[in-house]
Structure formats: C-alpha cells, structure tokens
Symmetry: C2
C-alpha cells in the first residue's frame, strides 16, 4: 500500500553519513538509447535549497560530442551507490538540456548564471579541441584566452534533471522502497512510497 | 594514428592505486534499452588470470526482475570512475547471460562453479521473495533453508561481459585514449589504441 512520503530526507541523510568520502559526491547519469554514461559531481546545494531538480552545470568536457543525442533523449536515470551506508538510489526522471538556442528567456538566464558561477579554468574547457576526436595537437598545448566578463560559449550547456521515480535500496536494513510522483492540481509534485521486497 | 596496445595494464594500475578505497572495487553496468543499471563488485582475479572477460557471479538480488530484459540485450557498458587517480573507464562489450536453461554444457558448468564459489548466505538471497514486488511479509521474516550440497537454483544466473571498446580518460594527465579490439585469424583478441582529445 502506497503512502505519502518523500525520498529526499533519505538522500540528504545518505549524503550526510557519507560526506567524509570524497567519492560519495559522485553519481552516474545514464541516458538511452546510446548508453551515454557520465560521472557527475552533484551540486548538493540544490537539495538543501529544497529544489527537487538535480542541476549539473555542464556535460564536463565531452558535452560537445554527446549533446546532440542527449537533446533527443528526454529521460534518464541517476544511479548512486553509497559504499559507507550501503544505500543505492536509482532515480528516474526527465532531462532538460539548455543550450544557447533555447527559446525560454528564464532558462537562458539560468544557463548564463551557471556559466559565471563556474571557475575560469572550467570555462576554458569549452574552448579546448572537441573531445574524443583524434588528437592532432602533437603536444603543442597552445593556451586559449577567455575574457572573464564574456558570457557562455556555444559548447556550454546546462542540464536539468527532474526526478519522477526513485528506487531506494538499503542493504544494511535490507529494505527497499519505490517512490512515485504525481502533480497536484496546484502543480506541486506529490510523492508516494511503497515498501517492496529488497 | 592507432597503435597496438591494451587497456588492461591501465585498469590494473588504477585498481592497484585505488585499492585502499573500498568503493574502487565497484562499478556500474549499463544495459539498453531499459536503463537497467546495477552496482557490481568486480572479481579482480579474472584480470589477474589474464582473462579479458569480466565475470560477475550474480545479478545480486534483483536478477529475477531484470533477467528477462537483459537476456534480450547483448551489449552493455561498464562505467568505472576512480576518484583517487581521476581515471575513468567506459568499457563497451558483449554480454552473455548463463541461466539453467543454457544449452552449452561448459557454460552450465561455469554457472555451477560460480554457485558453489559463493557463500551460503548469498545463495540464500535467491530463495527470498522476488525483488521489487510489494512486500506482503508483514515483517514475518521466515528463514529459508538451503542444502549446501544443492546446485544452483533457477533464479541464479552468471553474467559474462566481453569488452570490445574501451574509452580511457585520465583527468590528472588530461589524456584520453580509445582502445578498439578485433579478432586475429587465430581467434585471439587484438587491441589497438588511438590518442584522442580529452
């Protein structure tokens, strides 16, 4: 029987109890149909701010290669295993890619905000040669220049992930819960949970 | 320009330099089209034995739920990130699922060997209620019994993963290599590597 409950306290607790492990901040986002799979560093503030959406500033350096296929893929799954507390989260949700061609002014603003929030060093990644293409530099690493006041370059994208279902497995307590969301009439997201066999 | 080289020494080195981190033994196997994604504990001996194939004894407890979709999926990708050495391996390859109905006597033998090689406790997992179905136990955890000399139960499967392409990214040296395999006339697997932009 499903009851009203959110998965967010569980994730916050897992992040907290694994905080001393650097790797606990990493999870993987899996995207069909291409098996594109990335390691991500999550922005935990988004949770603390109470925002359900997971936000990732960039596709790291391989964004330019995979951005096209990801644009046509609107769903993904985040797999997150916490080795200290033996907890696994599989979070299914909608994906929104915001590039410079986006028609939504607010989203373009979010993208710009994310650009200026990232270090100059990480911004410079987007001026480097396109990832996964043959290296023809012959070791000549000529440095790119970037004006700090310059807005996002074309290769820079913002990814938003909006969770819809969460499969939570606790291997210590040997318990498993499936959290499913629906929108209220007011447009709020309501979460229900059901206890399932681990 | 592609040159003959194998990715295995890189992986062995990464496993070695991250050995003190418990989580470095974990990676994720990603399977289309269902976004099925598991956390796995790798059997490192397989590498040391010089076997190219990654072998995983079981699908952990959720095998029974996802086994059907995985049976129809012959390719997968292993994503493995080493947080200490900043190395990422994305290994694409063929998947072989060996259940009790397999027609190959050698493979059935491998499955049986894997069954007896796992602890009685982990074998008992396969007698527990089917994972991800509603929990109707009402907390009454009746214990299953299992004869230690009894062979693999139906739910027990062996997964073999045979790498075909490896994308290696080193974020410390900022280098990236794509390793691609082909079979020699003698049926051996030959690996070529190409340096690409990180």
């Amino acid at each position: 029987m499903a009851t009203a409950a959110s998965w967010k306290p569980l994730l916050l607790r897992a992040l907290d109890s694994n905080a001393h492990l650097k790797h606990s901040a990493f999870f993987q986002l899996v995207l069909p149909p291409s098996l594109a799979c990335f390691s991500y560093l999550i922005l935990i503030e988004n949770y603390v701010a109470g925002d359900d959406r997971l936000q990732r500033k960039t596709f790291q350096s391989d964004g330019r290669i995979q951005i096209e296929e990801i644009k046509h893929c609107h769903f993904g799954e985040i797999c997150w295993y916490f080795t200290e507390s033996w907890e696994q989260f599989r979070i299914n949700g909608k994906i929104d890619i915001i590039d410079g061609a986006n028609s939504d002014a607010c989203k373009l603003q979010q993208r710009e905000k994310a650009w200026f929030a990232s270090s100059l060093k990480s911004r410079l990644q987007y001026l480097a040669p396109a990832p996964r293409l043959p290296d023809i530099s012959n070791g000549s690493g000529e440095e790119n220049q970037l004006d700090p006041s310059e807005g996002p370059v074309e290769a820079f994208c913002l990814l938003l992930f909006d969770p819809e279902q969460v499969d939570y497995l606790n291997l210590k307590s040997n318990e498993r819960f499936i959290f499913t969301s629906r929108s209220s009439e007011q447009g709020f997201k309501l979460w229900m949970s059901e206890k399932v066999n681990p």
